[in-house]
């Protein structure tokens, strides 16, 4: 297959030029400037990509695909459809399924489902502790053999600091990244939105920023003490970012990701009590959002990940206090990244690195680049199209997006995974 005359942007190789890509047997064979002569390609598929932008396939290192156990919210197949439609070719799926992915049989079950779906690459994260109960370490080594790429009790913190210490050491033993959900549950208590003037006004119980920050501080201290890496997921506050910046400056092996919704929305989105904007961590203040945007520019933030968290309409229709936390995001991850480029003045190369080469390096997986010899995971977008998110275009089983009705610039036209076209925009 050939992709012809596209603007090719690959942060992994710092490439940004107009040219052609040659794909053979699921791998990138060559990437060349347009001036290079085109060989005879009569028998090969050619995508005419004039005016289009071509990126390495997007990696989403934080998603909940809900299978096994919560198939009424989402399953591996519908999650794969959503990913493909969003230009995401690699999805790391979290372990809080039912049963929890804390042993190799569950890992294998998910991977079998992914193969059946046959669309994008699904890489499971295993649980840190058995049953995500924070008490006994899970079978990280056996799960790694079965195919996990990281460990996380996401949805919950590992509360016991001594277990957290052992978990970091044990994960490092197997070369697995530990993805930490930072939340002091005693402090966040019954909270459902960011604690502050607005929560007091709306009469909703608040989640203090400190509930996140004390755990971020704890994790960086334990990481420093053990010299084991830790990855802080869905960072949402200015204070957390400050702690991470200082830790990085001291050489502590800490990395972090933020979500598109924390970058593009703030707590004022909750004025109408829209449960689609209820998530953990909660949308924070305008000042926090600004700090996160600055964190992108300064490079403290390593990754943007969706925290795709599908919930059924019946669940989100409940009272704000009792509706579950979470928003879907697989289809809006890349559009959000493009918005950061178009509307916030961030370099395309820079924002793309946060969803391609950076997560690939952190997880130690292949992909995330267009380097010859790599997996042929490629996302092609039309940068000139404006489109508005509506429920009928959402491929997930659940429709709980805080971006419904929002207009984005830049539309996915092709998603190629492992050399196969897994998504093609209607009419193309």
């Amino acid at each position: 297959m050939w992709i012809k005359s596209a603007r090719i942007v690959d942060p992994g190789q710092q490439l940004d030029f107009t040219g052609n890509i040659h794909i053979e047997k699921g791998k990138i064979k060559a990437v060349e400037k347009a001036s290079s002569p085109m060989p005879g390609t009569m028998h090969e598929e050619v995508i005419d990509a004039r005016g289009l932008w071509v990126f390495p396939g997007i990696i989403d290192m934080h998603a909940h695909l809900r299978e096994p156990g919560y198939e009424y919210k989402e399953d591996v197949y519908t999650g794969s459809l959503a990913a493909a439609a969003g230009g995401v070719t690699t999805v790391v799926c979290m372990a809080n399924t039912e049963p929890i992915n804390d042993n190799p049989s569950v890992t294998k079950y998910i991977l079998d489902k992914a193969e059946e779906a046959g669309l994008v690459r699904i890489l499971p994260a295993g649980a840190v502790t058995k049953g995500q109960e924070g008490k006994v370490l899970s079978e990280m080594g056996l799960m790694k053999k079965a195919g996990i790429v990281a460990v996380s009790d996401d949805g919950k913190p590992v509360e016991d600091t001594s277990i957290m210490r052992r978990a970091l050491e044990y994960a490092a033993t197997f070369g697995l990244l530990l993805i930490s959900h930072c939340e002091d549950r005693r402090l966040s208590e019954a909270g459902v939105m960011n604690e502050g003037a607005l929560s007091s006004e709306l009469g909703l119980p608040g989640i203090p920023s400190a509930a996140e920050e004390v755990m971020v501080a704890r994790d960086t201290i334990i990481s420093s003490y053990t010299s084991c890496p830790v990855h802080i997921t869905h960072v949402s506050t200015q204070g957390s970012l400050e702690i991470i910046r200082n830790a990085k400056a001291k050489g502590i092996k800490v990395s972090c990701d933020v979500t598109p919704h924390h970058l593009l929305l703030d707590e004022t989105r909750l004025y109408d009590y829209d449960t689609n904007a209820k998530m953990y961590p909660p949308l924070r203040t305008g000042a926090d959002r600004k700090a996160l945007l600055q964190g992108l520019a300064s490079g403290v933030i390593d990754v943007i990940a969706s925290d795709h968290a599908p919930h059924a309409r019946d669940e989100k229709d409940l009272d704000f206090d009792v509706a579950p936390f979470g928003a879907i995001g697989l289809q809006t991850l890349l559009p959000a990244v493009l918005r950061l480029h178009f509307d916030y003045g961030l370099g395309l190369m820079q924002v793309l690195s946060l969803v391609t080469v950076n997560p690939a390096r952190l997880l130690g997986i292949d992909g995330g680049t267009l380097k010859p010899g790599s997996r042929a995971d490629i996302t092609i977008v039309d940068p000139s199209t404006n489109w508005t998110l509506s429920e009928d275009m959402i491929m997930s089983k659940s429709k709980n997006s805080p971006f419904l009705g929002e207009t984005f610039r830049g539309e996915v036209v092709y998603t190629i995974c492992n050399g196969q076209i897994v998504y093609r925009k209607n009419g193309i």
Partner: protein, 309 residues
């Protein structure tokens, strides 16, 4: 008067002029309750549904009497706990109620925001009778009415609201309303019972009750819930009473014409001593009486000919 609101969810959404109109109209509705036949045909044929998902004595009774004095039919439904605990969404629950074709739903709910969402989803009027820690607009209106009845105005008055501000929807609605009508509000509570970000409300905040007492025209005491003790918002009732309870020595420091209010129900011996509730300074029972008149006014505005779409 043309009334442009379908729902009454919060005092925040009312203009000063609208609040003043309500308070003015309430006086003529109050007169109806003094007649021998306490009933007018204004809302004949209208159906009012009272949905109370939290226990209530005064508010529910008050709304029901108000509706009946205007000849509306009332249906009342008391549910303990939220619809969620019964396994259905609030939308499911109200869809059943909608089958009765009500003209108005009066709802009290344990969680903030649900009345607002219902109002947006349903064609009939929704009146918020208290939602979570959010707002209790009709209580604030009757409180303001009672103040105006005594002082003739709110402009320039000094009002202290004392107690569990954090968990009080009454405090929120009153702060918004009283400020709109030109009063100066001081919130008094231990730091643990003050909402985070309270500075943004444009009020004075103090944790020291005694020094402000001589300047106040109105002291409104809020109910302190005993379960807050276990949640570590304060130590015990004995200590709370010493610092934030209204007793005789404190009453003696009040201005000669200053009054005491309480939205009820009160905890005798905690935030207020029993004898004080019945003292001449207390307008606590006037508040209840005025509640009927204010709610008649609101039902008239939201259900009567004054409403335009």
């Amino acid at each position: 008067m043309i009334w442009n609101h379908k729902d009454l969810i919060s005092i925040q959404n009312l203009e000063r002029e609208e609040i003043e109109n309500i308070l003015e109209m309430a006086t003529s509705f109050k007169e109806i309750s003094t007649r021998e036949i306490k009933k007018v045909p204004t809302l004949r044929g209208k159906t009012v549904v009272l949905l109370f998902y939290e226990p209530s004595t005064r508010t529910k009774l008050s709304f029901e009497i108000a509706a009946k004095r205007l000849s509306a039919d009332t249906v009342s439904l008391s549910v303990s706990g939220s619809s969620f605990e019964k396994g259905e969404t609030i939308m499911d629950a109200t869809r059943n109620v909608m089958a009765m074709a009500p003209d108005c739903i009066i709802i009290r709910y344990p969680y903030a925001g649900t009345p607002e969402r219902l109002g947006k989803a349903l064609p009939c009027s929704v009146i918020n009778a208290g939602d979570g820690f959010h707002e209790h607009p009709t209580q604030a209106l009757l409180d303001m009415y009672s103040i105006k009845e005594r002082f003739g105005r709110l402009d320039g008055l000094n009002i202290a609201i004392v107690g569990d501000i954090m968990h009080s929807r009454v405090a929120r609605s009153n702060v918004y309303g009283m400020k709109k009508l030109g009063a100066k509000v001081v919130l008094v509570a231990p730091r643990t019972l003050l909402p985070v970000g309270v500075e943004a409300w444009g009020v004075e905040v103090s944790s020291d009750f005694d020094p402000i007492i001589p300047d106040m025209d109105i002291i409104m005491m809020l109910r302190v819930q005993r379960e807050r003790m276990k949640q570590c918002f304060f130590s015990d009732e004995r200590e709370y009473t010493v610092f934030y309870g209204l007793d005789m020595p404190r009453i003696k420091k009040m201005k000669p014409d200053a009054i005491i209010m309480h939205p009820g129900p009160f905890n005798r011996g905690v935030e207020i001593t029993g004898d004080i509730a019945y003292s001449p300074r207390s307008v606590i029972f006037r508040q209840v009486e005025n509640g009927v008149a204010v709610r008649m006014t609101l039902l008239y505005l939201y259900l009567g000919g004054a409403h335009v779409d």
